[in-house]
Amino acid sequence: MSISRALANAIGVLTLASAITASWADTPGPTPPPLPNYAQECAACHNAYPPGLLPAPSWRRLMTGLSRHFGVDASLDQATTTEISNWLTHNAGTYRRVSEEPPQDRITRSAWFLRKHNEREVPLAVWKRAAVGSPANCIACHAQAEKGHFNEHDVRIPK
């Protein structure tokens, strides 16, 4: 084939490859089915955050400090704490960008989170909308967040 044809093919393949990997970048990897106790205990007050969003050391710290969980007492009996802790650390994030332990183990203070939700993408006023509330309320805009789906094409920011 001619050089220009080969070049066109190469560009086509590279574009396709980058499109595929770009959409991979929006998903923290396959999310395991939620542990029933995780959904029942932890999602009683907030989103059931997919375990892949934090590295294991962050989950471990959170689970040993439940009586002081971001300002509230979220303590559980030892057996349930151990069960949930094991599940979280076993399914914790291993992608390079999730290896960083964010400040206060807050998902929303991770470098990757701040980058993806910077002011150009999400104006500050959006976080204050009644339907959103705070950056920690993933499902307000990412309806399938608890299943680990964050594809930007499915984002719907409520008014």
Binding site: C45, F70, V72, D73, S75, S134, A136
Partner: protein, 137 residues
């Protein structure tokens, strides 16, 4: 001869299961039963009006029970931090409330620590539950 199909075996099996059931369902208790238990531990009868006052008091901290459960817990409440919807607390409006003693104790322990800064006494729990049980359609 005792065989699997014999009436004797069936009776034995039924007795075995029947005696195990109470321990399997040990946590289940109606709201009235839980109120009776707290009142008995407190040693005094529960007072619904005192319970309502306790429910709406901030106890010197940031939140009252009503901060999340509303002043009228016949309607859904909302977590004061996360905004997560919380089903009504009054048993007449939410049949699953106060049906599992372990669950009741867990939430009293955590929420009293946050609201009051300590565990609630049996008397305080009795008062609050007594008030919640007065809320009928």
């Amino acid at each position: 001869m005792v065989t699997l199909s014999s009436g004797f075996f069936r009776l034995w099996l039924l007795a075995l299961i029947g005696s195990a059931l109470p321990s399997l369902c040990a946590q289940a208790a109606t709201p009235a039963e839980q109120l009776a238990a707290y009142s008995a531990r407190a040693g005094t009868p529960a007072q619904p009006t005192r319970g309502q006052q306790f429910f709406n008091n901030r106890h010197g901290h940031d939140w009252s029970c009503s901060s999340c459960h509303t002043v009228n817990p016949t309607v859904p409440g909302k977590h004061a931090s996360t905004g997560k919807v919380i089903g009504p607390m009054a048993p007449a409006y939410n049949p699953e409330r106060f049906t599992d003693t372990a669950k009741t104790e867990k939430w009293f322990r955590r929420n009293c620590n946050d609201v009051v800064g300590r565990e609630c006494s049996a008397g305080e729990k009795a008062d609050v539950l007594a008030w919640l049980l007065t809320l009928k359609p």
